[in-house]
Subunit: 388 residues, 2 copies
């Protein structure tokens, strides 16, 4: 029986071209996170179901991948990285430093409705500071996000901030409506408040709020014009308890590419005591989409820099020798392994987007620039010079 080669709906293969872009972005992010003292953490794909169940509301329980394993254990696949972080913090409390600054970049699985353009397997990029109540930690989180955006090449972006404390005394249902201010405008908000039978005064009440003392400190430490106070920002009714923020990028309108905030009542769930935390998450698929849209990927994300091509099969060994020499000079190189003609080798270089081909024709070496479609006869030293 022939089995059709196919992937599950909502799951993706990343072929080299795409995989390289994603790796590039991950590498840039890791480097920035580490420069701010965040360290890597990895947790398993599978957890005991009881660790994850009930932690993400009804929707989470519905969308979670769970099953009974061969040993009759009820297990569930990683649904986010925050609950596993809470588990780790409780499980290894004597081994971890306080504050614990960790980043975690792993896939999560959610049985989302794919018709809404959602994926069922996607990469989460999180960084959090656990164990510190200080507004300086809030500021460090935002500073890390800003540096990440800069290093990825984003020029024009803004970070809207607010303090959940500003919503104390406001009806939760009203908060959800006011959160839509940017989308539906003042008129829309007032209309929806009325429809819900809520006091329309709550909009003004929220909009008249000032920077809280904590936000003022954060703002003073950051001294960054791109950080903007927006009293209507709510980020839904999530678990946040203090600072909340969202990142928007000029020229990319599909939504916020990162966000986060302070959540002081969540991480202690397994430890049995309150443990403060503040952090952020990048929406990695959106981030990649935004980088595509704004052309932020380097054009030279090739793997192989040079294909050493042989004009006839007798020269294949010489081609291999030259490739090895190039590799010893840190220049990624390869040789077509089978006896094929030059045309086929050039096609291979094209398909793989290899930028240079050295054509070996007896004692002659020709360096071909595959993008510019130019070529010149050179000796090996000259070629090295050109490639460096």
């Amino acid at each position: 029986m022939k089995i059709e080669p196919r992937t599950l709906k909502g799951f993706r293969d990343f072929l080299p071209k795409e995989a390289k872009k994603r790796q590039y972005a991950v590498e840039v992010l890791k480097k920035v996170f580490e420069s701010y003292g965040f360290e890597p953490l990895e947790t398993p794909a599978l957890e005991y179901e009881e660790i994850l169940a009930g932690k993400y509301g009804d929707e989470g329980d519905k969308l979670m991948y769970r099953f009974t394993d061969n040993g009759d254990r009820k297990v569930a696949m990683r649904y986010d990285q925050t609950v596993p972080l809470a588990r780790v913090v409780a499980q290894y409390q004597n081994e971890l430093p306080t504050p614990f600054k960790r980043y975690q970049i792993q896939n999560v699985w959610r049985a989302e409705n794919t018709q809404r353009g959602r994926y069922r397997e996607f990469l989460q990029v999180d960084a959090d500071i656990v164990g510190s109540y200080s507004p300086l930690s809030d500021a460090e989180i935002i500073a890390t996000v800003i540096k990440s955006l800069e290093k990825l090449g984003f020029k024009n972006f803004k970070i809207t901030i607010n303090d959940r404390a500003n919503f104390v005394g406001i009806d939760p249902s009203a908060i959800l409506t006011i959160d839509k201010l940017k989308k539906i405008g003042k008129e829309g908000v007032l209309k929806e408040l009325e429809e819900k039978g809520l006091p329309t005064s709550s909009l003004d009440e929220v909009l008249n709020k000032n920077l809280s003392d904590k936000l003022k400190t954060v703002s003073d430490v950051l001294k960054d014009q791109r950080v903007i106070f927006d009293p209507s920002l709510a980020r839904g009714l999530d678990y946040y308890t203090g600072l909340i923020f969202e990142v928007e990028v000029d020229g990319y309108d599909a939504g916020s590419i990162a966000g986060g905030g302070r959540y002081d009542n969540l991480i202690g769930m397994f430890a049995g005591r309150d443990i403060p935390a503040v952090g952020f998450a990048f929406g990695f698929d959106r981030l990649i989409e935004a980088m595509e849209t704004l052309n932020l990927f380097p054009t030279d994300l090739y793997t192989t820099k040079v294909l050493t091509a042989f004009a006839n099969p007798d020269l294949q060994e010489k081609a291999l020798k030259i490739a090895n020499e190039l590799r010893s000079k840190e220049i990624n190189s390869e040789v077509y392994p089978d006896d094929v003609n030059l045309e086929k080798q050039l096609k291979y270089a094209d398909r793989k987007q290899i930028p240079y081909v050295i054509i070996i024709d007896n004692d002659k070496l020709v360096l071909k620039n595959m993008q510019a479609r130019t070529q010149e006869e050179l000796n090996f030293e000259q070629i090295l010079e050109k490639l460096k």
Copy 2:
């Protein structure tokens, strides 16, 4: 109800210290693979069960994690990276170059018996050349393994090679016995052959084999004394069809840390035609263990290089300023975010293995080397000089 924070048997959390080591090894390997023209590929954690079922023998079917998802689809978790590669090669045949040189570094899941020291989630590190019958590809695979070992710091290792063709005409059960030659010795092999009622002459028959023409080519191309022909090497009854090889490292006796070979009848399973392939896999957990045993990890696998510590809380802002300046010079730095005394900050640096602390005491800066337990008063320029 209090839920006990725990991980499933056979699954591991990698706390920062361990995670950094693993990341280091992965980065070194990726760089080498790319220098030989291998490109990254990623496939999903979940596949349709029919893609994986029956591909790994009875044991594989037994150990595979599989379940029925919310949409009533039978799915299975990635069990290796070769079957997904076969699927990818069939599914995207018009998009991939030939030969297709890909590396893949992802977790796989197997419900192994953990009492045998096996993990149920472990990282696989594979690289393969798909679509080439050339012995040059075999040689490139081994060259990539050699360069990987060198870049990881291994000095003394050997790569045993053989050609499956040498076993043509030998009873498969005899091959399995002869494969144990190194473990049980000549006497042991002869005894087991007798017990199995097999001709004891098959041992000599195998041992008298010479390098096949293909192996001779591989050997000639590599010109490496560490590559040794061993006619008794069989690598079980796996799917290999030509070259097979295994890597052993001096000073680490827990087994081979890498192996591979040519398998020309497998990758075409979904494409419906023979597609040749040759590749290798590193046993990543063993590799890490061998690197630990031989002390091959750099001692400076820190994330944060400098903690800028404040002698009193009023200097915290200054500490942050200095940390930011260090970061702008590509020196990873952080500040303790809460108002604590100097002792606590130093303890934090110790626990996190941060090698340097700058103690800020009004206008005085003291650079403390945390390992050497030395310190000296310096100005900022001098500190920069020391840290570079």
